[in-house]
Amino acid sequence: MAILLLACVPLAAACSDGPDDPAGARPEAGSGEFAGTVRLGAALSETGRYAVEGRDSRQGYDTWLTWVNETYGGIRVGDQRYRAEIVYYDDESDADTAGNLTQRLIDDDRVDFLLGPYSSGLTTGTSAIAEANDVLMVEGNGTSDTMFERGFRNLFLVATIASDYTRSGIEALAARGARTAVIAHEDTSFATAVARGAVRHLEANGIEVLAVETYPKDIQDTSAIMTKFRDLDPDLFVGGGHYNDAVLFVNSAEELGFEPGGMLITVGPSNPKLVEELGDDVHGVLGPTQWEPSMAYRGPYFGSAADYSGYYESLWGEPPVYQAASATAAALALHLAIEAAGSTDTGAVRAALRELSADTFYGPISFDDRGVNVSKPMGMVQVLDGEIVVVAPDGAATATLQYPLGDGAAGQGGSGSSGLGRLPQAIVNGIALGGMYAVLVLGFSVIWGVMGVINFAHGEFVMVGAYLAWLANDLWGVDPFLSVPAVFAVMTVLGYGVQRVLVDRVIDRPHLVSLLVMFGLAIILQNAMKLVFSADFRRADTALDGSWRVTDSLTVPVTRFWILVIALGVLAGLSLMLSRTRLGKGIRAAAQNREAARIVGIDVSKVYLATFALCIGITGAAGALVSPVLAVQPFQGPPLTLKAFAITAMAGLGSVRGALGGAMVLGLIEAGLAVYVEGVGTSLAVVASFVILVAALVLRPQGLFGGLRPVDATAA
């Protein structure tokens, strides 16, 4: 397939160059200097979690497109020049959709070649469809090794493959004397490939790998991993998988006083956002980069990396990130292969791609048998005094690698890495975690206990409160601890509104109705916040940070300590309020027996209104309180809601003391698992609360403790 149809009579009338031309014959409708069109297609994420990177990739492809048609004069096929066009669809960052759209590009749009989508996940599925239809796909933004172990003939990658991401960095660090390393990586296709490659490169360079830890996607807290690593006292930390993980690692290393000689983080350091977000804390952090404008590459097309950067900026008004450059390079590689083949026949172009050897602004490009570009090394950047500079490989470096950082490279070997030695730290971590859970779960528990409403949007109210604190911190520099009262006030008003507009309508309705309505509200809040703030992890800065070093193997994180203190204060306050004040008594009466409370003259609907507003206030304030510790992001809510459910079902509906007890138990279990189980401890800690939830419900449906209203999970 993919036969280029010869040009028909050029039409005089000027038509738009949109992709809506009927499939099949492709007369050139523009200036008339082109003999025809080469049609490319790509599914890219305009919406969903990869929306930003998808846009960068598209700008990268369009940079090539503008250049090839306007500056270069069209693709040369034999003696003729062909105009290039690209058909795009939005894959919504969803694998099914991307696959479907790729099929549509092949069938309905009859594209000659495909360009890759963004991310390894989406490339894996779409490349299988390309392979089955025998259409070539050239890409620069899906680098996971597994994709190239399938023996596909039609998939080509211009970027450095994932397993080689850390290679140049590790080589440079080994040359500077690094001898031991620890690795933590997200358990996803891309990050696992990077980590496996890192192990290989570390060992090849004589660096001992002391530990490898994995953690699940969307992890909220990495302090357990850092606790383990601190005890091993390695020269190097290698880790990551996602931009957001970089935020967490830098934070918890700081919090726990973990200071390796070098931190090499897979994704994040090359992104200026990280420096903006973390400021001084990120000083000295290393990271790989596919490409930087400052690199010393050049080629006959686009000129040097800096020239390309200038051209890109003239088109889009912003400098290119490496995702954009990779996309441009992918399109350029395809372009060069078509010219070398002198044809758009798939077989001929595939052969030309295999033979290709070109120097470009992006670096050298030549493919091995797998279809992977093996001639371009990965670059390494380091954050030095707020600037991102290239420090390796030597050919591309613009500054000198700083290693080791501070005095942390002493490497006297692990201190208290024995099981017992870690116990105090595990208990401290567990109590700190429990304190956070207690204040986070309180509002959920009381609303359920008093009103019988399961607030499925609970975690989203935490998230909104956290964003408010972050916003105050970001805009006016307000310490999140100081903004807690203001956030409480704002969230109380929000709770009042939600109760009036929504909850009041479902309170007497069946459980399914309130569950689904609150679930709908959760979806709205998550996606609305994502539209406003993007899905990037944020962190509020507090003056109460750092850690108290009690012994070598025991530190108390200052922020978490104060969170615990305030959490206990809130719990005590609410407890007093419920037992002493008139409102509190009304709340308890309405929880016990609504009808009876009405009969004795309590305005139950007012009590509900007050309860809901108050609880949302507390919940939002809790979000503000944990905003310096837990990553602030639109999707932080659902795991918190499920944890709240687990703790409440265990500890009794609306029981303040039960919430504290249940939260402490869960906190200690999670911290213990994460610290004591090697390798997958953090993942197990994530599962723990769900297993506890199901087991607690099934084995003891009547609940473990009493509360404002009895739990009976077996009665409808």
């Binding site: 539209l531 769900f690 999970a713 077996t714």
Partner: protein, 647 residues
């Protein structure tokens, strides 16, 4: 073939609906020949998948009333088992497992695990079940992630690409149409009716002989297997699985939203709703870009609040869609049914004094049960009936029943009376096995039944009514009656049959006897308290019982009707059915029973003829207290109504 004939028959509205369905089906079959490209077929296949998942979700969430918030776990399990089998061999031998056996095993594994997990989680009700399943979903996904050696961990598994869109299209079309037809048929069988009974009132269904646990777990398991099947097919098509794309919450959410949009608990609802949702998505997706997820949340809230009965409900006024989305949580101080306000029964024509009841209860059972049951396990005359010996039941520190002996001989009518809180209903609950007695033995015809599940007791011919009336409120009077058959004798084949004509005839006769024949198509929830009481008695009689435990048969019933009930009970008793009556209305008991047992504070105070016990000073003392002897006259008045004030 009967099913096909039924399908083709029907009123003009039905004919139009069915014609539309046939046209749609023909269009779907011909679609590939009408020039639809692979991408259209691919889109359609994805739509078939969501329709199938919604149908399966509706089996438990809609029919049975167990709202599963983690249904996508079966999809992911089916996908993973398929992927593991297909890639396992490919790595070591160079040839993958063939897809068909891999997918079949994937589906079976999902079904087996659903049965296992369902047995545990389906003990939970309402939101607890929903959340437990959500927890299961997340836990399974994370376990798949951690168990990297088998599942490839977060990296996932890659399958050999094989992408014949047309083949997939036809395979999934056949499967989804077959699934819809199967559910359509199932809903019309006794099995389907029993599922709805479980949704409406699980304890009542169990008490009337439905093996609720087995049926709901079987349904859950089938739904899991069926969703797992589509998961396996999806994995094969997608050529790649990882924990996050195989286990997505969105799949459960789509199934719930599609079903709600179409009509919860209906056959057509999930199909129409999922298609509508798909179409709606395209519209939202095209015009709202990133806002479409926000819009989806708004849509969910609007559907739940404004059109809770969905598309089907909007067109089908008296249809089968669930009238309320879910049973309301019992409020802290619920008003018990049968309070005086509900007691009025408008002037019903007086039924004949003794309507003939030739086949209704006794000799009719052979015909009703299709002759399979016969009289094998019925007691012969003179054999022992129900016997409770030394029954003890404690609630915490309170001993509600303290070593009571009670027996009811075949054909006998025994009254059980006593002041409030004397333990009458608790004793009933022990005898019918609703609660476990803490001591003593319960025997039926000499055989120990103290370990049997309630539905087993019902199947042995002991049926009961409840102090707080239990009827299936969303079903019509007729459906209520037809659901209360003797489930013991129908066997597996009977379970998958529709209600037979003998059952219908028996229901008609009983409704006539109980003066409900004018109300047979009304939902039971719209009946007055007294009418519901009669319906409940009728339901208890539908199963050809040899013994009926009647709990407060006259409570909340219009006085003019009490005499009628008395007459009807007498007629039925004359045909050999034994009764044990718990009553406040002492006069009612005195008129009907030859023997009365009096309970006080959990112990048997007296036993004998009505006359004897009413003359017993201890009984008078218990009833009226030391100061209440002036009430003796009332107790002596056989026709008098000594209404208890227990409500």
């Amino acid at each position: 073939m009967n099913a096909l004939r039924q399908w083709l028959a029907g009123g003009p509205g039905q004919v139009a609906t069915r014609a539309a369905a046939a046209v749609a089906l023909a269009w779907l079959v011909l679609l590939p020949s009408l020039g639809a490209g692979d991408s259209t077929l691919f889109t359609m296949t994805l739509m078939f998948t969501s329709v199938a998942v919604a149908i399966n979700w509706n089996l438990t969430g809609g029919f049975t009333g167990y709202v599963d918030f983690g249904h996508a776990v079966w999809f992911g399990l089916g996908a993973y088992v398929t992927a593991i089998l297909m890639s396992l061999q490919a790595n070591s031998l160079g040839i993958g497992w063939p897809p068909v056996p891999a997918i079949v095993i994937g589906a079976s594994a999902a079904g087996a695990l659903a049965a296992l997990i369902g047995r545990a989680t389906m003990r939970l009700k309402g939101p607890y079940f929903s959340i437990a399943m959500l927890g299961t979903f997340v836990a399974v996904r994370e376990i798949v992630r951690i168990w990297g050696g088998l599942t490839g961990g977060g990296v996932g598994l890659t399958l050999p690409p094989y992408l014949n869109r047309q083949l997939f299209y036809y395979v999934e079309l056949v499967l989804v149409v077959g699934l819809a037809a199967l559910v359509w048929w199932l809903r019309r069988t006794r099995f389907g009716a029993a599922l709805v009974a479980i949704r409406e009132d699980e304890l009542g269904a169990e008490m009337r002989g439905i093996a609720t646990t087995r049926l709901k777990v079987a349904t859950f398991s089938f739904a899991g297997a069926s969703t797992g099947l589509f998961g396996g097919l999806w994995a094969y098509q997608n050529t790649f699985v990882d924990p996050d794309i195989a286990f997505t919450e969105a799949r459960t959410l789509d199934a719930i939203m599609g079903t709600l949009l179409g009509g919860l608990g209906t056959v057509a609802g999930p199909v129409l709703g999922s298609v509508a949702l798909y179409w709606l998505r395209e519209v939202l997706w095209a015009n709202l870009l990133d806002y479409h997820l926000v819009a989806q949340g708004v849509l969910l809230i609007l559907v739940v609040l404004l059109v809770p009965r969905g598309i089907v409900g909007a067109f089908d006024r008296r249809g089968r869609s669930v009238r309320r989305l879910w049973r309301s949580p019992p409020s802290g101080a619920g008003t018990p049914a049968g309070s005086p306000t509900e007691a009025d029964l408008p002037d019903l024509p007086d039924g004949p004094d003794s309507p003939d009841l030739p086949d209704a209860t006794h000799s009719g059972q052979a015909a009703a049960a299709g002759g399979t049951r016969g009289d094998r396990d019925r007691p012969g005359p003179g054999r022992a009936g129900l016997e409770g010996a030394g029954i003890v039941k404690r609630f915490g520190g309170l001993t509600a029943v303290d070593g009571v002996d009670i027996e009811v001989a075949p054909g006998e009518m025994v009254g059980l009376i006593g002041p409030n809180g004397s333990g009458k209903t608790t004793l009933f609950d022990c005898l019918s096995r609703v609660v476990n007695a803490d001591g003593g033995a319960i025997r039926l015809d000499g055989a120990d039944i103290s370990g049997l599940a309630p539905h087993r007791v019902a199947r042995l011919g002991v049926s009961r009514t409840f102090q707080i009336i239990r009827v299936y409120r969303d079903l019509t009077v007729r459906e209520n009656m037809e659901l209360s058959i003797q489930w013991g004798g129908i066997g597996l084949r009977g379970l998958f049959r529709r209600t037979d004509s003998a059952t219908r005839a028996k229901a008609e006769q009983l409704m006539e006897l109980l003066m409900l024949d004018g109300l047979s198509d009304e939902p039971a929830g719209t009946l007055s308290g007294g009418q519901r009481r009669l319906l409940e008695i009728g339901m208890a009689l539908m199963s050809d019982p040899r013994l009926v435990l009647l709990d407060e048969a006259t409570s909340g019933v219009n006085p003019s009707l009490v005499e009628d009930i008395k007459d009807r009970l007498r007629v039925i008793n004359e045909q050999g059915v034994a009764f044990l009556l718990v009553e406040h209305n002492v006069g009612f008991v005195a008129d009907l029973c030859e023997r009365v047992v009096v309970l006080d504070a959990g112990s048997k105070l007296a036993e004998g003829t009505p006359r004897q016990v009413m003359d017993d000073p201890a009984v008078v003392e218990a009833y009226f207290g030391a100061a209440g002897r002036s009430g003796e006259a009332a107790a002596h008045d056989p026709g008098g109504r000594t209404e208890g004030c227990e409500t």
